[in-house]
């Protein structure tokens, strides 16, 4: 018996050729080739905290992985090793993030990470990071639920600055034990109802537990985007999200699970236009709001 050896794909071709290797399993018809290469934007990535001895090498490996996989830009944050972050802790992270943006110019875009519990200090940090340092948005983690009033001033500021909030999220029995104030899709939908002008990104559908629950919870929250990142590569996850929310509400991400993040987008049965939107077009639209009226 002869075994088939697939042709190796040239570097940086993984995502520009998505839809060629993948087929729709209903009809198994080959999807049409993408007309033009989309700038691929990973909306959810992390540079390493500098307490980690190997942070420089790890950051470099992230860029190398993006090179191999055809990812053009990475929207990154740096988190404190433990939460809740102190004001000093998140300011330090954001300073390193600003330096990371300089180390990898045009390649790494920065989210400003804050703990909303620090009130004025958190607000000042967000404004300074966006207006003076070119950060593209705000990263919120699990210090508070998205629905708690302490978060509202941060949301109002992002509306003013016209930048998104990437919110850590998960609906999970096990995550809830470890992170009692983790937000889920329901909390983000509730926040979106209070602030329909805000642009919210619900983090890592593949890293937040019961993804079917999360997708359904976000159905009627049209201003909440969903990021595709996370290590979970369950078959059907992307198609369900596109079917229930619409592909224009999905944004590609890896959350540093690089081959899984790329592989599930390559595998999903999507139209070429939807795939391009998810890979970069939708995020580019979000980022394009900054500095406009």
């Amino acid at each position: 018996m002869r075994w088939h050896t697939p042709k190796l794909m040239p570097r940086r071709a993984f995502l520009e050729t998505v839809g060629l290797a993948a087929t729709t399993c209903s009809g198994l018809a080959r999807a049409p080739a993408a007309q033009q290469r989309t700038k691929v934007i990973d909306c959810h990535a992390h540079l390493q905290h500098h307490s980690r001895r190997s942070w420089q090498e790890d950051d470099r490996k992230l860029i190398e992985a993006a090179d191999k996989l055809g990812i053009d830009q990475l929207c990154c944050s740096i988190l404190t090793p433990r939460q809740p972050a102190t004001a000093e802790g998140f300011r330090e992270c954001n300073q390193w993030m600003a330096e990371g943006m300089q180390r990898f110019p045009g390649r790494v875009l920065g989210y400003c990470y804050v703990n909303p519990g620090y009130g004025r200090e958190a607000l000042d940090e967000v404004r300074r990071s966006v207006e003076e340092r070119g950060f593209i948005g705000v990263k919120l983690y699990n210090e508070y639920r998205a629905t708690e009033p302490v978060v509202w001033p941060i949301v109002e500021l992002t509306i003013e600055l016209r930048v998104p909030i990437l919110h850590h999220a998960g609906h999970s029995l096990s995550l809830g034990e470890e992170q009692p104030r983790i937000s889920d899709g329901g909390h983000l939908a509730e926040l979106a109802r209070r602030y329909p002008e805000a642009v919210l990104i619900c983090g890592h559908i593949g890293g937040g537990g019961d993804w079917e629950w999360t997708i359904k919870a976000l159905r009627n929250a049209p201003t909440v985007y969903l990021d595709t990142s996370g290590s979970v590569i369950d078959e059907g996850i992307i198609e369900m999200a596109a079917r229930v929310l619409g592909a224009d509400r999905l944004v590609f991400g890896c959350d540093n699970s690089m081959t899984g993040g790329v592989g599930k987008l390559r595998a999903a049965s999507l139209s070429a236009a939807d795939r391009q939107g998810i890979l970069g077009g939708n995020m580019r639209r979000i980022l394009g709001r900054r500095g406009t009226k």
Binding site: L8, L62, D234, G260
Partner: protein
């Protein structure tokens, strides 16, 4: 390519697509995967796993050139020796999968060791899924932890004549199973679906530590999308000879497939 980590049937907690033989073969064709090692997803939660084995045996009829069935055996369920005999001798299954946490036992339990010994006597490989799905998305009905790698290391040491294929695992490089000169027998292969190929590059580390003959390709279809595992092989910095071993040669040898003699 040969996928050592594939399934047929229903799973209790999530709808699976492409989970019939015809559906899985279409998915395999679309990814140029020639053969897959399959077992029953239903048998993971059936009390009597033999019903799942019977379903798989029926489903792969006429497709044995591409679908290689494994049994799911619970060594604490009545009649497991009869089931093993039927699966091996009547259904022609080349191995079995064990779910110690889903079936509520430990790999060191004497009944489990008996099952492994009998399988080894028959020349059947033993596939151990470290997990079925990510624990973060578990149902409210039950909480099934991953199989600890230390427990697997103890088993491969305790039953060195058996041949194991470890699937859906990660973190091997931090365990004796993935270390060079760990003193463990070389009677196990590690499947790549949850291993990294960039950044930490666990696949590359395992090739360096254990040798390229110990790493095998698998996707976890249809629980998982197949492409993440395919992408890993595509970006892995290794020679084409190493990739060929991972793609099919190693598992062909382990399962005694005809092409291994070429």
């Amino acid at each position: 390519m040969i996928d050592v980590n594939a399934y047929l049937g229903h799973f209790a907690f999530r709808q699976l697509r492409h989970n019939t033989a015809a559906g899985l073969l279409r998915l395999m064709d679309s990814r140029r995967i020639e053969r897959a090692v399959v077992s029953s997803a239903s048998a993971i939660t059936y009390r009597n796993s033999q019903s799942g084995n019977e379903e798989v045996a029926e489903e792969v009829k006429g497709r044995r050139d591409r679908l290689i069935p494994l049994a799911v055996i619970n060594p604490f369920y009545a009649g497991w020796r009869d089931d093993l005999k039927i699966c091996h001798e009547e259904f022609g299954m080349k191995g079995l999968r064990m779910y110690p946490r889903w079936h509520n036992y430990r790999l060191a339990d004497p009944a489990c060791l008996d099952l492994v010994s009998e399988a080894a006597e028959r020349g059947m490989v033993i596939s151990i899924p470290v997990r079925v799905e990510d624990r973060r998305q578990r149902s409210w009905l039950l909480d099934v932890p991953d199989v600890p790698l230390e427990e697997i290391a103890d088993l491969v040491r305790a039953r060195p004549r058996a041949q194991y294929i470890l699937v859906n695992g990660t973190g091997f490089v931090n365990s004796p199973l993935g270390r060079e000169n760990s003193g463990l027998p070389s009677n196990y292969a590690i499947e790549i679906s949850r291993l990294s190929a960039v950044m930490a590059n666990e696949i590359g580390q395992l090739v360096a530590n254990l040798g390229s003959g110990r790493i095998v390709f698998g996707t976890g279809m249809p629980f998982n999308y197949p492409d993440p595992a395919l992408v890993k092989l595509e970006v892995l910095e290794a020679g084409e000879d190493v990739k060929e071993q991972i793609r099919w040669r190693n598992v062909a040898r382990l399962l005694g497939l005809p092409s291994a003699a070429k």
